[in-house]
C-alpha cells in the first residue's frame, strides 16, 4: 500500500466517524472559522479559557470536509485542553502530523493543518494580534 491508505489508519477513521468534542460551546472565550478551498473543508473551533485567561479549559469544533481535516480537528480538540494559549501558538505542522501518526501526502497537508491554524488564528485575534476580519485559509 502506498501513501493513500496509510493515511487512513484506524485512528484517523475512528476520529472521522466518531468525532470528539463535535459541536459548539455555549460560552466560548473565542471562536474562529477557517476553510481549505482545495477540498472545500470548513472548520469552526470554539475555545474556552480558564479564569487565568491563559489555560485552555474546553474545546469544541464543527464543520465538514474530508476525513483528514475532520479527524485532525477531532484529535486536536482532545489535545488542547490543559494547554496554554502560548503552547497552542507554539505548535507547528509537525506537531499535527505527529499527532495524526501517519505520513500525510504533500497535497493533503493543508487538510491536516487546518484545525490547528484555525485555533491559532482564533487565539491571535482574541489577543488582538491579528485582524479579526481575516478568514483563516490553508490555500498557501
Amino acid at each position: 500500500m502506498g501513501l493513500g491508505s496509510d493515511m487512513y489508519r484506524q485512528q484517523i477513521l475512528d476520529h472521522y466517524k466518531n468525532p470528539r468534542n463535535y459541536g459548539e460551546l455555549e460560552d466560548p472565550t473565542f471562536s474562529h472559522v477557517g476553510e481549505n478551498p482545495m477540498c472545500g473543508d470548513e472548520i469552526r473551533m470554539d475555545i474556552r479559557l480558564a479564569d487565568d485567561g491563559e489555560t485552555i479549559e474546553n474545546v469544541a469544533f464543527s464543520g465538514d470536509g474530508c476525513a483528514i481535516s475532520q479527524a485532525s480537528a477531532s484529535m486536536l480538540s482532545t489535545k488542547l485542553a490543559g494547554k496554554t494559549v502560548d503552547e497552542l501558538l507554539e505548535m507547528d505542522r509537525d506537531d499535527v502530523i505527529d499527532m495524526l501518526g501517519v505520513d500525510i501526502s504533500p497535497m493533503r497537508v493543508k487538510c491536516a493543518v487546518l484545525a490547528e491554524k484555525v485555533a491559532q488564528d482564533g487565539a491571535e485575534i482574541y489577543r488582538g494580534e491579528l485582524d479579526k476580519e481575516k478568514t483563516t485559509t490553508t490555500e498557501d
Partner: protein
C-alpha cells in the same frame, strides 16, 4: 463513423506513442484518468520540440540570421496550422498564441471589455462556466460598471435555453459560454447561442478548452466571434494557448499588454502596432511550444478528430454505465451520448472526494477531486467537491474497470 471504425482504432499503437503510460508508481502501472486537466504528450510532439532546441533554437521575427529565419517560419506557420485545425480560414490573422485558455479570456476581457463595457451593459455567462471565464468577466464587468447574468443549468445538467433567450437582450454586449463543461461534461449548443447573441448585436466568446481536444471544431460553423483553447489538453505542451478571433474584430482591438515584437513604429511619445496576431504577442513568445502544438495538431489529425470523438463517447458511456450501476455513486451531468464530453464527475456516498482520490492513488488510479474551478456550480449541486474521471483516446475500458474496482477499497475503509 461506424462503431466498427471506432473499434478499429489501434489503441495499442497510439499508446506506444505515449511512453508515460508505462510509468509505474510503487510497482503499479499508472492508470491516468485526469485528461481534462492535462493530456499526455506523444513522442512526435516531444521530438518536434527537441528538434527545435537541438537544431534551430533562436529568437523569432527580427533575426536576419539563418537560425532565426527557421525559427520564425516555424513559429509563424504554427499559427496557420492551428487556425486551419479549428476551421479559421483567415489563418494567422485570426489566431493569437497566448499562455492558455485563461489568458485568451483575459486578453479579450481587458482589451475589448475594459474599453467597450460600461454601465447598462450586460455580460451573459452560464452557471457552468469555468473560473477562467467566470472570474475574468465578473471582475472586468465590475471594473467597467457592467452587469453579469448567468444562464441557468437545469436538473439534467444542460443549459436552460429558454432562460438563455431571456438573459440575452439588446443590453447584452458579450456572451461567454463554455463549449464542453469541464465538470458536467455537457456539450453546449454554442452555435444556437451564437445566433441568439448576434440577434442582439452581442459578441460570443466560446471557451473550447475541453472541446478542441475531444471533437472536430469549426469556429466558422459555430460563428463564434472569439474561441479559446489550450495546447496541453490536446497532446501539446503546456505554456501555449490559443485565441481565435474574427479578423475584422481583432484588427480593430487594442492590445492589452505591451512590449517588443508587437510594434510597427515607436517614438518617445507614442507607438503603433504591428499586424494581428503579432500585436497581441509582445515579448519572446513560446516558440518551442508553438512547434510542439503544430506537431500535436498533426498528430490528432492523423488519428482523425471524428475518431477521437467516437472513442471519447464510447469510453464515457462505458464509465458512466459502470459507475451508474453502483448504488452509492452519484453522477453529475447529462447521460452519455453526443451531448456529453469525455468525463464523468461523481461522488461516492460517505467518502469525501479528496479521500476517495487519495485511496484511488494507492491503486495508481489518477483522477481529480475538488471543485474543478467551478465553485458556484458545485454550490448549486450542493456538494463541496466531486471526483472526476476524464478520458482520452489512449485510455482503455480496462483502465475504467480499475477505477470502478478500486472504489471497493474506499467503501471498506469508510464503512
Amino acid at each position: 463513423m461506424s462503431q466498427q471504425d471506432v473499434e478499429g482504432l489501434d489503441v495499442e499503437r497510439i499508446r506506444a506513442d505515449f511512453p508515460i503510460l508505462e510509468r509505474e508508481v510503487d510497482g503499479k502501472q499508472v492508470v491516468y484518468l485526469d485528461n481534462a486537466a492535462t493530456t499526455h504528450t506523444p513522442e512526435p510532439v516531444v521530438e518536434a520540440m527537441s528538434d527545435y532546441y537541438r537544431r534551430y533554437n533562436a529568437n523569432v521575427h527580427r533575426g536576419i540570421h539563418h537560425l532565426s529565419q527557421e525559427a520564425s517560419v516555424a513559429y509563424e506557420d504554427a499559427h496557420d496550422r492551428v487556425a486551419e485545425f479549428v476551421g479559421a480560414s483567415g489563418g494567422r490573422e485570426e489566431l493569437v498564441f497566448t499562455k492558455n485558455t485563461t489568458e485568451s479570456e483575459n486578453l479579450i476581457a481587458y482589451s475589448w471589455g475594459l474599453s467597450e463595457l460600461g454601465p447598462g451593459d450586460e455580460v451573459v455567462l452560464t452557471e457552468m462556466e469555468h473560473h477562467a471565464s467566470l472570474v475574468t468577466w465578473q471582475q472586468i464587468a465590475k471594473r467597467a460598471g457592467a452587469d453579469v447574468k448567468y444562464v441557468r443549468v437545469d436538473d439534467t445538467g444542460r443549459l436552460d435555453m429558454d432562460h438563455a433567450r431571456e438573459c440575452i437582450t439588446d443590453d447584452t454586449a458579450m456572451v461567454s459560454v463554455v463549449h464542453v463543461s469541464n465538470t458536467l461534461g455537457t456539450v453546449n449548443p454554442v452555435s444556437e447561442l451564437a445566433d441568439i447573441a448576434h440577434d442582439h448585436d452581442a459578441y460570443i466568446f466560446v471557451d473550447g478548452a475541453q472541446a478542441v481536444p475531444t471533437r472536430p471544431v469549426d469556429v466558422e460553423a459555430i460563428d463564434a466571434d472569439f474561441y479559446a483553447f489550450s495546447g496541453h489538453k490536446m497532446v501539446g505542451p503546456t505554456g501555449i494557448g490559443c485565441l481565435y478571433g474574427k479578423a475584422d474584430i481583432l484588427e480593430d482591438l487594442e492590445p492589452y499588454h505591451y512590449g517588443g515584437g508587437m510594434i510597427r513604429k515607436v517614438t518617445f511619445e507614442d507607438s503603433t502596432w504591428g499586424d494581428v496576431p503579432w500585436k497581441f504577442e509582445p515579448g519572446t513568445p513560446p516558440i518551442a511550444e508553438a512547434v510542439g502544438l503544430h506537431a500535436a495538431v498533426d498528430y490528432l489529425e492523423d488519428i482523425g478528430m471524428e475518431r477521437v470523438r467516437a472513442r471519447e463517447e464510447a469510453l464515457t458511456e462505458y464509465a458512466y454505465d459502470r459507475l451508474a450501476a453502483e448504488d452509492d455513486v452519484e453522477i453529475y451531468g447529462p447521460e452519455p451520448g453526443p451531448e456529453r464530453g469525455g468525463l464523468v464527475s461523481f461522488n461516492l456516498e460517505g467518502v469525501h472526494a479528496h479521500d476517495l482520490t487519495s485511496i484511488l492513488n494507492d491503486h495508481a488510479v489518477a483522477i481529480r477531486a475538488g471543485d474543478h474551478c467551478t465553485q458556484p456550480l458545485h454550490d448549486k449541486l450542493g456538494v463541496a467537491a466531486s471526483a472526476r474521471a476524464s478520458f482520452y483516446v489512449y485510455n482503455t475500458r480496462a483502465e475504467i474497470d480499475a477505477l470502478v474496482e478500486a472504489l471497493e477499497d474506499a467503501r471498506t475503509l469508510f464503512a
